[in-house]
């Protein structure tokens, strides 16, 4: 640990030392004296890590290396951990065909696997499928824990809900430390290493789309997805908030989100709004789309439609 801190000081020396840096260093230094006893396993590097947006390339490199080491120690697996930035000329959007969705919840489980979500105690799902009785759209009439022998059921329709990647996100406004923000390509992301775990964003979200990691995730070693992104599906940290990012680790490489791939009936559509020829543009132009809880002016980048 001594070596590590020496290294980080050396790296920083290349940058000009600002007052802020100085204050930060002194504070962090003071914290360091009291911390090791308090926080088993917490290192100086982890404690003093800057906000994601303030990391210089070399520092980011170091952070990614540290996390990969941590995952190797923890899970015995070699992780790929990228921090690919937003693609140029891209604004991601999602569309979901409610007349096709059969409520099978394969998307829910594909999401949990892709995103390394805690399997039990607590079981965390970033997608929830609501079962509505025909004729109602009041969430209070909806059931999340339905368990029929066969889906779809007569008299019901299904509405999967996940993060709506709002253009006017209440969670971003609420966060007291800017640990969550909107990326230029439309994704609302969380810096898990900056979140203080106050859960105010959860109170602010009208879609129940933000999830707290009440404990360290339980992940079967053989089911771990080692293809990860810093802002996306790396194994979640205890006591911080996580959420759907439209599978940032996939879509920034030109792939579809896991839920789109998993849907057996093709109810889920995903694409780039700025691409004239994309499927998502076709849907927005030709279908009758709506946005969930439109009256709240959150302006989701997630559209529902009936085909």
């Amino acid at each position: 640990m001594k070596n590590d801190s020496a290294k980080s000081v050396e790296l920083d020396r290349n940058d000009s030392v600002t007052r802020r840096d100085f204050l930060k260093k002194s504070l962090v230094g003071a914290g360091l004296l009291t911390l090791p006893g308090l926080l088993p396993g917490c290192t100086w590097e982890e404690f003093s890590q800057k906000h994601f947006s303030e990391l210089a390339p070399a520092e980011l490199e170091q952070v990614l290396r540290r996390l990969k080491d941590q995952y190797r120690r923890c899970y015995g697996r070699e992780f790929q951990l990228s921090a690919t930035g937003p693609l140029p000329e891209t604004a991601f959007a999602y569309a979901l065909d409610l007349s096709k969705c059969i409520g099978c919840r394969r998307c829910v489980y594909a999401c949990a696997e892709e995103n390394n979500l805690s399997r039990s105690d607590p079981q965390i799902h970033w997608i929830k499928v609501l079962r509505f009785p025909n004729g109602s759209m009041n969430p209070e009439d909806a059931e999340r824990y339905y368990a029929p022998d066969k889906v779809p059921e007569e008299g019901y329709y299904y509405m999967p809900v996940q993060c709506q990647q709002c253009a006017n996100p209440p969670c971003v406004k609420a966060c007291p430390v800017q640990a969550t923000w909107k990326e230029p390509d439309g994704m609302v992301v969380v810096d898990y290493n900056w979140c203080i775990g106050c859960r105010y964003c959860m109170a602010a979200c009208p879609y129940d789309a933000r999830h707290f990691n009440w404990a360290a995730p339980t992940l079967p070693i053989n089911e771990i997805n080692t293809h990860t992104h810093y802002l996306g599906n790396r194994p979640q940290e205890k006591n911080v908030v996580g959420k759907c990012t439209f599978c940032i680790q996939r879509v920034r490489e030109g792939r579809y989100p896991a839920c789109v791939e998993a849907c057996p009936v093709g109810a889920r559509k995903f694409g780039n709004l700025l691409d004239q020829d994309s499927e998502i543009r076709y849907i927005l132009e030709h279908k009758r789309v709506f946005r969930f809880k439109e009256e709240l002016n959150t302006q989701p980048n997630f559209y529902y439609y009936f085909s």
Partner: protein, 404 residues
Amino acid sequence: MTEQSTIKGLLLLLVKGNRWYYLWLASLVLLILTGACAYRVQFDRGLIVTNMRDQVSWGLYIANFTYLVGVAAAAVLLVIPAYLYNWKPIKEIVLLGELLAVAAIVMCITFVMIDLGRPDRFWHLLPKIGRLNWPQSMLAWDVVVLNLYLLLNLLISWYVLSNLYRGTAPNKTLFWLLICLSIPGAVAIHAVTSYLYGGLPARPFWNASIMAPRFLASAFCSGPSLIILIFQVIRKFSPLKVADEALFKLAEMVGWSMFVNLFLLGAEVFKEFYSNTWHVSHIQYLFFGLHGKTQLVPFTWTAIAFNVTSLCILIYPRTRKNLFTLNGACVMMLIGVWIEKGLGLVNPGFTPTPLGEIYEYLPNLREITISIGVLAFGLLVYTVLLAIAIPIQTGDFRARTDPP
């Protein structure tokens, strides 16, 4: 007297006391240690050891925080008659009220800290050093105003005490400036804490403009009732005199505050039930239960019964001026407002969730143990402050002026 002997004198004040004083301190320390042990488990294993979950992501800790903000603001009900109207019976005790505000804010901050998933990252909240999301986030505002109010009350108490100690007259301009800041300060911690809830359109139960006035009204109930009770204990165990007159005047103000509080509640109940939109479900859950889930209902009605009864007692002069009924009313009010501003505010805001789920939250034993530890910590802080302040105020602890 030299600086060194002052410090020695202060330390002596802290250890001076009878058997009861030591017993009191010992039991507080014991409760704090028990709470700390329970917290250690929460820290190691995560907030999973509480009863909070995604559906109800704030619980007892934030409920206590919300309640204690009210207690902290109560000092202002003493400050106004004491300084603005120069009313002597209260002027003699206003300092104790300000110290209570200090202790209450310390508890508020501790409650927020233990509620944080990652308290080790608290420095992210510090302006300039971290990234305080100000002025966007209402939580950031709350951090700012709470700390300023704490600082202000510490400054005022320290300034008054050091002048009393040296036998000097305080600088009038400076003193008035501090007092004039502390009055809007008390209103601000309330308004901002209510905006914390009221600013969330995702939670219709909270998203109401009536929140800020209701917070103020209930704060002026719970804080001063606590003061009325504590001051009787103080005058029993210390040489400090607290006039009955001061207590009765406070009680009168508390009574009227409760009247306003209940009126505002009525306004809210009318709006929700008469318009009868989807949003009615939260208040329905609070008062009558929803889809057979009725956990909060007994609490709610207890609070209503207590608040109405104490209102009757405090409005009627004869029962207000009888210490027995007065104390009964104060206890009822403390409990009533705690339910109203605690579980009765936090829980129904989350229930049902925006996606219609009902998760019935009640704190578990660990949360209660930790909370009691925090309350004990606050009482310890208050005791220490009183142990210093009372001898200075009664004149038993003064700077010795050397003969010329």
